[in-house]
């Protein structure tokens, strides 16, 4: 048992080291010319544009549910506070729920896709073929994905914030019949620009985690279809865990500083 835990821990630490090395390798390759333009724009579309529907749905329902829950809780407990729902929704979404839900959705959608694609390339020797054709796999495959992730995640998070606040409003006005002016007033009063910024800073880190870990897991895929399946699963789990971990770290860093 102790041996098992020890081996797993060692494994985990080795992996962290390998991911750190891959990150360094990626950063070095970002500046190598020629920049893989075409792959980069392809990834912007795949990770970003194609994820808009799923983020929209997640955001609108999150905002709506949040408004509903907090609204009824406030109404039944402290009468006359329900117009604060606007502020509560806006703060929870921009600070926490927007970045994290968006990142988890993208981890499931794009992270799994990246691992499966690179993993399949690995097991069908396409990665080897890249090397024999004088292309650097990190430069050709990882750089475009990581850059796209880092750029696209904050944009999607901003979109999530907006849509979730909108979802909250819809429920508050149509379903609960709250006062529109008061609701919007609390939203604007309680929400500061640093709330939004903190969320966006987090999302940049999440974008990096998603694309880097997904690529890493793709590259170490072994075996055939089964191997691809395994590494895709592991990739999504690893990404989600690391997102939650870094969310805590970043939250504590960002809130003590501001």
């Amino acid at each position: 048992m102790i041996r098992f835990v020890g081996a797993k821990t060692l494994d985990f630490v080795t992996q962290l080291g390998e991911i750190a090395l891959l990150l360094m390798e990626t950063v070095r390759n970002i500046f190598r010319r020629p920049f893989p333009r075409r792959n980069f724009f392809e990834q912007i579309v795949k990770i970003g544009w194609n994820s808009i529907p799923v983020t929209f749905f997640t955001a609108i329902s999150t905002g709506a549910i949040l408004a509903l829950q907090t609204g009824y809780a406030m109404m039944s407990n402290v009468k006359g506070t329900e117009h604060f729902v606007g502020g509560v929704v806006a703060l929870s979404v921009t600070r926490e729920l927007g970045p994290i839900l968006c990142a988890i959705m993208i981890a499931g959608r794009a992270g799994s896709g990246i691992t499966a694609e690179i993993g399949t390339m690995k097991v069908t020797e396409q990665i080897d073929a890249l090397v024999t054709l004088s292309a650097n796999p990190v430069h050709y495959l990882i750089v475009p994905r990581v850059l796209a992730g880092v750029i696209v995640l904050p944009l999607l998070t901003l979109f999530t914030d907006l849509v979730a606040i909108l979802g909250g409003m819809l429920v508050a006005f149509l379903e609960m019949g709250l006062n529109e002016a008061q609701y919007i007033e609390t939203t604007l009063r309680m929400l500061t620009i640093s709330d939004i910024n903190n969320g966006l800073i987090k999302s940049v880190v999440f974008g990096l985690l998603i694309t880097l870990i997904a690529s890493f897991e793709g590259f170490r895929t072994k075996g055939g279809a089964e191997g691809v399946g395994k590494s895709t699963t592991r990739s999504v789990v690893m990404i989600c865990m690391s997102i939650l971990f870094f969310d805590y770290v970043l939250t504590s860093l960002l809130t003590t500083n501001f």
Binding site: P34, T124, Q126, L130, T132, L133, S134, A135
Partner: protein, 275 residues
């Protein structure tokens, strides 16, 4: 350096462990200029690993690979890349990039270098596809082609940058006999037309006899015999004889990829083969 060898490719004392298993245990192999060397051996004997060392995909634990007399490992990455750019490799499953069209696959190297105009690249695509006997497929995706056609495209991609060396990993595996023979013809054709040095790894003896100038047999991570096809056929070495005749019983018994021994007493012929 005048001491550069007469050999195009020379492998000396190559050793490699993979996953705790000694795959190559000191391989020595010399390939002359313009020759086609075929490496035979059972699945899992280290043939493909050897090939991947020659094309720089693996780094040896010990030993060295010399290309035109120059060492491949332990040199600067620029020198290494320069040596490796002389190679074209045909992978077992063709390993075409499935997100790209056939044309983009063939001139992949040229597109990446950004030093060629579209017109030049179109010309190269047409020329190389014609050399492998394909036409009208340039705009298709790899998944739309049959296995044999994919291999031809893989070959077109391997020769697109006019390499000095072509490596073939199991060129005929998984193809029907007719398609396999067409690939054999193509390999011979490449040799005549391009004047290249080639190494092919295979366990298809029909193909080995047809395309090779010399055959080398790899057994348990070592080269056990190298000779012309005619002499290999008359070899006295019991391992070679068993392999080239494809006999289930003989000295070769321990062959499972994970180092487990086959059931003992195989010599007695307990299995289904009629005696």
């Amino acid at each position: 350096m005048s001491q550069t060898s007469d050999y195009a490719i020379e492998v000396r004392g190559l050793k490699k462990q993979l996953g705790g298993k000694e795959v190559l245990r000191g391989v020595d192999l010399s390939i002359c200029r313009g020759e086609t060397m075929v490496i035979i051996g059972q699945s899992g004997c280290g043939k493909s690993v050897l090939l991947k060392h020659i094309v720089g995909l693996h780094y040896p634990d010990d030993g060295e690979v010399f290309i035109d007399g120059k060492p491949l490992n332990g040199v600067s990455s620029a020198e290494r890349l320069a040596l490796l750019s002389e190679f074209g490799m045909l992978f077992q499953g063709a390993a075409l990039f499935d997100s790209l069209t056939i044309a983009e696959n063939v001139v992949f190297r040229h597109i990446q270098s950004r030093r060629y105009s579209q017109k030049e690249m179109d010309r190269i695509v047409d020329e190389k596809l014609e050399m492998v006997g394909l036409s009208g497929v340039a705009h298709l995706k790899p998944a739309e082609l049959s296995g044999g056609m994919q291999k031809r495209v893989g070959l077109a991609r391997a020769i697109a940058a006019d390499p000095k060396f072509i490596l073939y990993d199991e060129p005929t595996t998984g193809l029907d006999p007719i398609m396999a023979d067409q690939i054999n013809d193509l390999i011979l054709h490449m040799k005549d037309m391009l004047n290249v040095t080639s190494i092919a790894v295979t366990h298809d003896m029909v193909s080995a006899y047809k395309i090779s100038d010399r055959i080398s047999m790899l057994y348990q991570g070592e080269v056990i015999e190298t000779d012309t096809p005619e002499r290999i056929q008359r070899s006295k070495n019991p391992y070679v004889r068993q392999f080239i005749r494809g006999e289930a019983y003989g000295p070769i018994t321990t062959v499972r990829p994970f180092g487990r021994t086959a059931p003992s007493g195989t010599k007695g012929g307990k299995h289904e083969t009629p005696q």
